[in-house]
Every structure is written in structure tokens, then in C-alpha cells.
Amino acid sequence: MSDVAPAVRLRGIGKRFPGVIANDDINIDVARGTIHAIVGENGAGKSTLMKILYGVQAPDSGTIDIAGTQVSLGSPADAIKHGVGMVFQHFQLADNFTVLENVVLGAEKLHGIGSAAREEIVRISDAYGLGVEPDQLVEDLGVGARQRVEILKVLYRGAKVIILDEPTAVLVPQEVDELFGNLRELKAEGLSVIFISHKLDEVLSIADEITVIRRGTTVATVDPAGTTSRELAELMVGSELPSPSTEASTVTERVTLHVADLGLPGENRPLLEAVSFDIHAGEVLGIAGVEGNGQAELVEAIMGMRPGATGTVRLAGQDLTELSTRKRREAGIGYIPEDRHRHGLLLDAPLWENRVLGHQTRKPWVRRGLIDRGASRTDTQRIVEDYDVRTPGVDTLARALSGGNQQKLIVGREMSGDPILLIAAHPTRGVDVGAQAAIWGHIKEARRQGLAVLLISADLDELIGLSDRIEVILRGRLVGSFDPGQVTPEQLGSAMTGAGGAA
């Protein structure tokens, strides 16, 4: 019997939160020994569904069967007991512990903490080709290796069903290939993998079956062999889809941003070193790099938020080097920050106050040191309409909006300050496909209007699609310049990890 019963069967799963239906009538069968992908845009209900399956949240309706038996999962411990394990997008490892210590942490009862545990780790690592050394310190491991430790942790606890939440978001293309190799090993051993992603090409290449979730419910389960990524995307969005891709070049001869020999000292090695580039009016310069290689520091140094920075920054001939962040903004920089909650918004302030943020010295909303609420409200209303921010009104707190709508508000605000340079750090991270298309549209529009755009993104397709030129940043240095018309994501990936150079 157990060979016939699917590893996981979800029937009619529903979950409501105040004001939203997160899941509604979800039906999924995950067959044993397969990789089952679940795709859907951000906010479609994937994470809620996974939390239900991992016992973090209880469903309001529906049933969960694991290996043919109906179960009720009240906590992650229950889920683990039934052989369901989860690898989170953000790793949950203690950096200053060894692999062994991390793996046995919280599971000391299984094989102790000594040689029995070490043997078990080596056995699992060999069996599935994970290549994990039990005595290495986690802080010495790369991202891909850490992920394998996370997978091993789950296997060590006896998981037969492994949920991977956006596992490739943090990996470069080469590491993705390695991960997929590991997943195929797991599958070959009869384990089932639930793979959550919104990167459709990857899903098509690895999954045996794909379930699409849209607005909280399962809309289709398809066979990857007979499906294109475009068809998948259309199932996700429910309508036809935009793509980045730049139109005719609008690059001019006029240098808008001139950065020369920018440096930023760090504790062990410089965070930025000898970074020089120009961005012309009407040009989009993309910065590619594995996260943590100096992208955030580069942006903050240009914004004047890093006191220790050395080198020169000029904007349309004006020397910004000695100026404060406020003066730099006034000189014409629009800034879409990487972390909109930390740097872009006052979450507990109404939208109209967020409209003023970063533009406190601009007329008409601030005159002679006084805030003009009426003018700010009116202008916020304009942004809400022009940029399609979905909100009941301008007095709503920023916290209440979805990520995509928050981001559209920020884009609208930053484009409304008459900038000549737009810095966009991960502008579409964590926003739904609709908002993503809109934000891409706004960046293209900015380029057409003759703005210089500095685009930082971890999404290589986005970089290639929008940029006129791509620079790769590695350990705080620019290590290669690419023409997006010629380069492939794989070539960029090599440069990002330092595996290959470029002219």
C-alpha cells in the first residue's frame, strides 16, 4: 500500500488571516521519490502553505496525509516526527559552531553528540553526495556548503519529505547546478522534495511535477516536459507577462555620475577598493555580484551614509565628496534602498509622511521650515494614482501595505524629486510580478527621460534585461565589465565568484 500512497497529500487546505484568504482549497499530491515544485508569485500563499505543512501554523480546513496516513501537525516537532523537514531560505546555523555541532544541536537524543553522530553525518553525506565535513567551522563555509549542511540537518532528523524554500535565491548559477545534483541524489534514494521557487527556468529543469498557486489556491499541476516558462508564468499571474529587455539605447555623451577611486576601509579587508566608473545620462549601469561583496557599501558610500569612505563622487560636475546625505539628495539623487523597511519607510507613519521622507527640504510640502500637510497629501494622492499604489488612502500606515505597494510608493516618491541619478538597489526584491513589471517600466521610463540609473540586483535576468552595461563586483572591487547584449547568466556567475575574468 505504502508504495501507492503519495508521500504527501493535501486536500482542501484553507487558511484565513484577518482580511486575507492566504490559502483556499489547496490540493497537492507529492509522489514518493519525486521533486515537486510549487510556484507562485510573492503573496500567492506559498509560504503559508509550507508553514502549514511544517506544523508552524494550523490550517482552518482540509487534511494532510503523509505516506497514506492522515496526520495533524501541531508543531515543527510533529512534522519532523512524521518525516517532514524544512530548509529555510535564511539559514539557521550558528557560525561559530562546527558542522557536527550544528547538526546535533536540538537532536542530541538521536545519536548523541560524539563519534556516533559523526559517523551518521559522514554516512548521510556520502549516501547523498553532500560532501559535508563534520568538523569544519560553519563560518568557513560558502553559501552552497551551508545549504548542504541545512539539508543534512533535516536528513539527520529522519526526514523523508524535504521542503526547500527558495533554495536558489542565495546561490550563483554554478552552485545551483550542484544543489540540483544533490536533489537528484535524494530523489534517487526514494525521498521526496518539495521545491518552492519563483525562478521558472530552474523549476522546469529540476522538477518532476509543478503545482502553480495563484491567489491562495492551486490553479494547475503541470508536467515540466510539456510546459514552457512563459506558460508557467502566465498560470502564475493569470495574464500575459512582461519581460525586462531594454529598448533602443538612450545613452548620451553627458557624464552624470562620476565615481573615482572610491574606497571604504573594513575590519579585515577593505569593503570597497578603487571603485571607479561613470554613468551617463540615459544610461543604466547594472552591478552584479554575490550578496555581501560591497554592493550595499557602494550605494551607501555614494549616498554619503558611510563616514569612512575615500575617493571622489561627482554628480553632473558637482563635487559631492564632502556633502552630507541630505545635500546629496538635494543635488538630484533618487534612492530606492535595498531594504525598504529599514531605509525606505517609516512603517508606523502614514503614507503622506512617508512622501515627505527624504524630501524634507523640498517645496511645496515643506516651506520655511514648516510641513504643509495639504500639499503633501495631494502629492501623495498623485503618486498613489500614477504609480498604482493600492491603498485605501494616504492616511494609511505604510506598514499595512503589501511589499509591492510599499515599493511602488518609494519608486514614485524618489522619481518625484526631480532626480538626475536614480540608485535602485534590488528594486523588485520581494514584490509580486505585477509590481515588478510596473517598477521595470518606471526604470525604463527614467532612462528615457535621461536619468542616469545605478541598478543593483541579484536577479541576473533583471540586470541583463534593464542594463546598458554591467559591472561585476567581487570583494569590494569591480572585476569585469560586460555588455548585457552578449553576456549569459553563466558568464556573469563565473565572474561573480571570481572563477573567470572578462575584459
Binding site: D339, R342, A349, V356, Q360, G369, T396, R399, A437, A438
Partner: protein, 375 residues
């Protein structure tokens, strides 16, 4: 789509929280009374009775002082600074003001104005120490202001000895009395009361208005509140957090400098060893209760002053220690924090409902706009 105007809804929620907190605090106090075997009903009927005219003047006077204290703490709160040091700041400031006014270098009202300015400067300077330490060296203002309170006590006692004149027939020492022309006259309410209400109450109201205007209507206030809500977002928007920290502490200290002045100019006319202390700590509770809003703080100050005044006859009338009011006031601080959080979460949920509804309604038109954006 919403039935209620969101702004009305916001005000309603704003009122709900303190009412909830007070009801809860009264219940807990009642519980304490029951456990102690004291007569619950009589205590409340004494406490919550209508005050006599004489008592009303006392309540207003006490509330004036508490109001300024609450205001001083609230300035810090708005920027996420916890100024525990109002207590030390107002004592340093009141001492300086008493010395300046007592010396009477200027005649009449000019002397008063000079003394008030000196008090604000002294309060600001004392708080500024904590501000600079926080901004430049990252020292927690909670720790530094507590320490500064102790130092203030010693410092004032030391200098008081240097400048003091001994009052005749008393062991108390104090600064020179403020000349009559430089005192701030009070006024009577009603016929049957001989206690005058401090004239300083109007200056306190003015301080409240200035606070409201500065924080809610000016760019400076916007920067201050933005920094309080999110330091990181403030930095990204171009605000110098170092500067704002120091300025906010200076402002908080300047307002703290006013706290002792109603007493000084309306009652004691000199700073002596018996000058009232502990007013700064009540301000923390009152700022919390009043949600840092100038009207809210006024209500909080009146409530605390009212409870204090009404508790006086408790011992005589029902044989219960007036300290029960301190329990109520302490419990209020706790329940206020809890009920505000509960109501805040409820408010966020309501907003999310509203956003969800707007989303549902906006679907078709929003889709059209995406088409346009793509075109």
C-alpha cells in the same frame, strides 16, 4: 469602502487604549484592597469624589508641574530617547533659576524672564551631557541620565551650601528669596478657597502648544519623529542622527528646566533643602499615559494630580494609607504599556483589512494601469 473616516477611527482607537488601561488599573487596585481587607467601596468613593474648590487649586498646581515633567519626557520619547534624568535636570535648573532670580540683577519681570531662560539653559546643559555621550560615544542615555541624577543631587547640595542663607528659626537653608516684583502672581478660583492657582499654568499651556507645533508642524519636528520611528530610514533620508540626538536631549532638558519653576515662582520663592523632588519620575508615567500627545499629557497630569489630592483624607476617613494611590499610579504605567500595544495591533489589523478591501475593489482598474505601464 470603510464605514468610518480613518482619522476618526484613529482618534477612537487613541482614546480606547487609555480608558482600557485605567479600567484595568482600577480593577487591579481593587484586588489589592480586597486582599488587604480594606473597604474597596469607601476607598473609591473617597478617591473619585468631586474635589472641593481648595482642592481644585491644588490639583491644578500639582498638574502644572507634572505636565511640564511629562512634556520633557515626551520630547525624548518621540525620538526614542529615554530621558530618566528629568529629575536631576529640573533640580539643577530650579536651583540656577532661584540663584539668578534671588540675585535680582534685573528689575521685576525682566528678572523673571532671565531666570526662566537660565533654568532652561541649565536643564538643557545637564541633559546635553547625556545627549553628547549618546551621540558621540554610544552611551545609553538611560544609564547616563540616572547617574546624572545622583550627581545633580550632590552638586546642588554642595552649591546650595555655598550660596545659601539660613532661614530664621529654622534648620532649612535656601537661596535668597525672589523679590516680590519678580514672582509670578497666581489667581483664585471661586470664593471659598485661599489657595491660588499658579500663574505659571499659562506658561505650561504655552509650552504644550509649542511642543505640539514644533513636533507636528515643522520640518525639525518631522526629522525628530522620523528619527524616533526609524534611525536607519532617517539616515537614508538625509537626517543627521548625531545632531538630532543632541538637539532632542537639549530640548528635553530645556523643558525639564521648567518643571520646578511653578513652585519656585508661585510658592516657595527660593530653592531650599526641602524643595520638592521626584517630579521627574512621575513625568515618565504621565508621558506614557498621555501617548506623548500634549492634550493626552495634560489629561494624564490632571489625573495623577487628582488622585494624589483625593488620597490625602483616605487615612482619616476610611483608615487606608494614601499610598494605595501610588499603587494605582504604578499599575497604570504597566497597563498603559500593555493596552497601547494591544490596541496598536488591533489598529494595524483594521488597517490591513481596509487595505485588503481596497485591493479587492481596485483589481480591475489596477489591471488596466499595468497594461498602460507596459505599453
Amino acid at each position: 469602502m470603510t464605514n468610518l473616516d480613518p482619522r476618526l477611527q484613529k482618534i477612537g482607537l487613541g482614546l480606547l487604549a487609555p480608558v482600557l488601561a485605567l479600567v484595568l488599573a482600577f480593577l487591579i487596585t481593587s484586588l489589592v484592597l480586597v486582599l488587604a481587607g480594606d473597604p474597596v467601596g469607601e476607598v473609591w468613593s473617597t478617591l473619585l469624589g468631586v474635589p472641593a474648590e481648595r482642592n481644585v487649586a491644588n490639583i491644578l498646581n500639582n498638574a502644572t508641574v507634572l505636565y511640564l515633567s511629562g512634556l520633557a519626557v515626551a520630547v525624548g520619547f518621540r525620538m526614542n530617547l529615554f530621558n530618566i534624568g528629568v529629575d536631576g535636570q529640573y533640580r539643577v535648573a530650579a536651583f540656577v533659576a532661584a540663584v539668578v532670580a534671588g540675585e535680582a540683577w534685573l528689575p521685576g519681570a525682566a528678572n523673571t524672564v532671565l531666570a526662566i531662560l537660565a533654568a532652561m539653559l541649565a536643564g538643557a546643559a545637564w541633559a546635553g551631557i547625556a545627549g553628547v555621550l549618546r551621540a558621540k560615544r554610544g552611551v545609553s542615555e538611560v544609564i547616563s541620565t540616572i547617574m546624572l541624577n545622583f550627581i545633580a543631587t550632590g552638586l546642588v547640595a554642595y552649591f546650595l551650601r555655598r550660596v545659601a542663607v539660613r532661614e530664621e528659626g529654622s534648620n532649612d537653608i535656601g537661596t535668597k528669596e525672589i523679590p516680590e516684583g519678580s514672582r509670578i502672581p497666581g489667581f483664585q478660583i471661586g470664593e471659598g478657597s485661599t489657595t491660588e492657582v499658579y500663574g505659571f499654568i499659562f506658561l505650561a499651556a504655552l509650552a504644550g502648544f509649542t511642543y505640539w507645533f514644533l513636533l507636528n508642524r515643522t520640518r525639525f519636528g518631522f526629522d525628530l519623529r522620523a528619527t524616533g520611528k526609524s534611525t536607519t530610514a532617517a539616515v537614508a533620508s538625509g537626517i543627521s542622527v548625531t545632531r538630532m540626538t543632541i538637539v532632542a536631549m537639549l530640548l528635553s532638558g530645556a523643558v525639564a528646566g521648567l518643571v520646578g519653576l511653578p513652585l519656585l515662582f508661585g510658592d516657595s520663592y527660593s530653592y531650599g533643602s526641602t524643595f520638592q523632588s521626584g517630579l521627574g519620575f512621575a513625568g515618565i508615567a504621565i508621558a506614557l499615559l498621555g501617548r506623548n500627545h500634549p492634550i493626552g499629557i495634560a489629561i494624564g497630569a490632571l489625573l495623577f494630580a487628582y488622585l494624589d489630592e483625593q488620597s490625602n483624607p483616605l487615612q482619616i476617613l476610611v483608615g487606608v494609607s494614601p499610598d494605595i494611590v501610588a499603587i494605582t499610579q504604578g499599575v497604570i504605567v504597566l497597563t498603559v504599556v500593555i493596552s497601547y500595544e494591544v490596541v496598536r495591533r488591533y489598529g494595524v489589523r483594521l488597517e490591513q483589512h481596509a487595505v485588503a478591501r481596497a485591493l479587492e475593489a481596485g483589481r480591475p482598474t489596477a489591471g488596466d494601469k499595468e497594461e498602460e505601464a507596459r505599453a
